[in-house]
Subunit: 499 residues, 2 copies
């Protein structure tokens, strides 16, 4: 075997152990009995430790160096060169992290899950605070090991969105804030949309069946994936051939499961879309969380909240819930599903206020990581931010700083990727339209075959071959820009609220 | 750290990786999408390989030898000595097996699952035959590596039931055959019991709820366990604190899920019953599959098909399915649930014919392993045995040689433990009654607290401290014997069929 082949054999063991840990994580959130949490934390921690040791060991480094040597002077666009670039980046990152830290982060974030679930259920931030402190200490140590120039937050953010700095993220937020403010001013000047039709009784089993029907139509492959219920919806690709999405159902709030299912299916189709020939290499996985989120937001919003989509699916929705929506017109429903209203829960926010949720989370977690905000002061700081950005009062920590799973899972330095992805979704959608003859007509007819095809070719298949910003340029023939997103929001909500 | 402590730290990694593989196996049978099978096989195979390498590596052997040296002359009944005995046995077994064989067996048996599921569904033995041949070749190689005196089957059987040989198993069958034949003669001489009441419509959701209520009452802990649906019911202890049981529901056949749930919960309570202080050592797990089966058969049959149990639960069953059983008396129901009738499916067989299913399976798989029966001839051989032992014709391979999951899972050399367990259940039950004041009265009142307590103390807590036959002696103050089982069957079915 060549050095590269030996390196890939080693890498593949690491990859497969990572997949095993993903199964354990999925099970924890979907099915694990409450009392199994401690054992699960130990199981995943030991796999993380073994994985990290295998990947950062001297033999891996030697094989990598030898394979790079073998590859000197060869085409930089060759697959071998692409593999070696990604491997080098990962290896250099991972070798900066001591194994005990990797193991501790895994264990603590697994243990934290049950603590967070209970704290949220009991609206009791105090029981979660020591865990959050422990996780913050660990990620801060992680940032120090990885190194950074401006803020430790950058070291963390870079793991989720390679190349993005806090200052870049701040610029994205700055560029979209005026458009959001302008739409919100129009919203306030317009009579409130009545979305009470979404709060009628929609039985759980039918909601799940309808959501699965929709995402099967969009292209989610249930032979290589499935959907389950979870406290906090997520998607996890255990493998290209086994992608799990989850949803949360509220019988009195239709969008929760339905839009959530489309969102997670967007993630899922990305995970199902890597090239089979990249199996066993580091190329067949997501380039960044921003790109991941671009796919989920695309299918949830650009498609799932569009007029053309509902032209097709509204009659089917009415039929799926006999009698429930007979008196509601398509026009009424379309407005209801696109109602803009500042609210408490990010994952259920409308398209306009969504980024404000992300912005405040970004600011708060940056302060937590930098040490300028103490954990004990988080609830007050949270509530003040919600008041400042969204203009509403937070009635409980369960609906406030305990709402999301991320911090309990050690996913800190992650939130800005939600806005990067939201912005990117619009840019990719515009590029697909510009490059694909007939796509506009297809979309008018709610036929998304070509849209998914474009994403497959331009986003899914490349996997990790290029850095995120390179991939934007290749796909869109233009640098990353918030302009398409601003135009999309302004046009769409101008029509809904400006008329 | 002492040598023993270092050895245990190493062992614990192996144990935790094994637990991770158990999660992957559970998921495969309960939730994995069909197309995920190949990836799952690779994931589990690599974990098996790494686990085997870690456990059989030179450092493990050196630590084991050093710890044994440290322990020389110390009390043989000490926990350290017990740990070292089990570790030595496992180490000596595992080092006989080459890692590539371990990895191949895991991969092929995972791949085989989906093939078996399809073959059974399509009643197509031919599509399963090459897989079965591959698995037989692998286990035969395994037997050759492990070594044996009389037959390669013994090497396989010993992994499930340490110390038991084929000739011992044959003796057990020989000792119980006359009693079975005598009861079957009585059954044939008596008008057939009408069990059509069990074939009325019992909706799935209520069946599952009732089954879970029953096993919660018996002592299965749902904070440290759960139940899901699977094609072939099983129990897997991912950890003492996370035990998964599964069931299969037929809406027109009540015993399938109900008795199956009690059966698996029996396994589950054993897995939940190991001593917390044995965590992380090889002591806190099952001593043998025969003992495992003794627990499942005890709760399924000795308890779950008893008059006292149904005195309490029959009114609750009637209430759980309103109107369905109003016209059926307790006496009728008790007879129906204990009806003896030769049938096709082992897991649904009555208590009397059950062992005949096991016996024929034992004889067939012994021939397969020894090479005296070719895979292609299995269906005919199967059908002939069913005719010989049970007197009935097999209408399809799906209900014949494809009915059970074991062979596809590489579990070959396993079947005799079902009869060992069935026989042992009666012996343990009698011992519990003899040793526990007031237990007979409790059982009359369907109070099983003391019965479970006795099993905890005498079977669960000892874990793997003693060899199976030693544990029988310690628990029952007598050697392993089929007499209690013969007496149990004869008395119970004499009353039902002899009156």
């Amino acid at each position: 075997m060549s050095n590269l082949e030996q390196l890939l054999a080693r890498y593949n063991d690491v990859r497969l152990l990572g997949q095993a840990n993903a199964v354990l994580g999925w099970d924890q959130q979907c099915y694990m009995p409450h009392g199994g949490g401690a054992a699960r934390a130990t199981q995943t921690a030991v796999i993380s430790r073994i994985t990290h040791e295998m990947f950062t060991s001297t033999p891996t480094g030697d094989l990598l160096a030898a394979a790079e040597q073998d590859n000197t002077g060869s085409d930089a666009a060759s697959k071998d060169a692409q593999i070696l670039r990604v491997m080098r980046r990962d290896y250099d990152q991972e070798t900066k992290l001591p194994t005990d830290l990797v193991e501790a982060l895994t264990r603590e974030s697994m243990l934290a899950h049950e603590i967070w679930v209970d704290a949220r259920k009991n609206d009791d931030f105090k029981t979660f605070a020591p865990t959050l402190q422990k996780l913050l200490d660990l990620v801060r140590r992680q940032a120090d090991c990885l190194g950074y120039e401006e803020t430790p937050y950058d070291a963390l953010l870079d793991r989720y969105e390679p190349g993005l700095k806090s200052s870049d993220a701040a610029k994205v937020f700055d560029s979209i804030k005026p458009a959001i403010a302008s739409i919100l001013a129009k919203v306030r000047a317009t009579p409130e949309i009545d979305d009470s039709v979404l709060r009628r009784v929609f039985p759980e089993a039918q909601q799940i069946a309808f959501g699965e029907k929709v995402v099967r139509y969009l292209g989610f492959d249930f032979n290589h994936g499935r959907q389950d219920k979870a406290v906090h919806p997520f998607c996890t690709g255990l493998d290209r051939t086994d992608v799990r999405i989850t949803t949360r159902v509220e019988e009195n709030w239709l969008p929760c499961a339905l839009m959530g299912t489309m969102h997670e299916a967007g993630h899922g189709m990305y995970e199902q879309g890597f090239l089979p020939e990249d199996d066993g290499t580091p190329l067949g996985s997501a380039v960044s969380l921003g790109f991941h989120e671009s796919q989920s937001r695309l299918w949830e919003n650009t498609v799932g909240r569009s007029q053309a989509f509902w032209n097709k699916f509204y009659p089917e929705l009415q039929a799926a819930f006999p009698g429930v929506l007979d008196d509601v017109s398509l026009a009424q429903f379309y407005k209801a599903i696109n109602k803009v209203q500042p609210s408490l829960i990010r994952v259920e926010a409308d398209e306009v206020t969504y980024n404000l949720h992300v912005l405040m989370r970004f600011e708060l977690e940056k302060q937590l990581v930098e040490g300028t905000l103490a954990v004990k002061d988080l609830p007050d700081a949270w509530n003040a931010k919600v008041k400042e950005y969204l203009g509403i009062d937070v009635p409980s920590n369960a609906q406030g700083c305990l709402q999301d799973v991320h911090w309990s899972a050690g996913l800190i330095g992650y939130f800005p990727t939600y806005s990067v992805g939201t912005v990117l979704a619009a840019q990719l959608y515009d590029a697909a339209l510009a490059q694909t003859p007939g796509l506009a007509t297809d979309i008018e007819n709610a036929d998304y075959t070509q849209l998914l095809g474009w994403m497959r070719t331009n986003v899914h298949h490349p996997g990790r071959r290029y850095l995120p910003m390179e991939l934007v340029e290749r796909a869109c023939n233009a640098p990353f820009s918030a302009e398409p997103y601003i135009a999309y929001l302004t046009t769409k909500y101008g029509a809904i609220y400006g008329a």
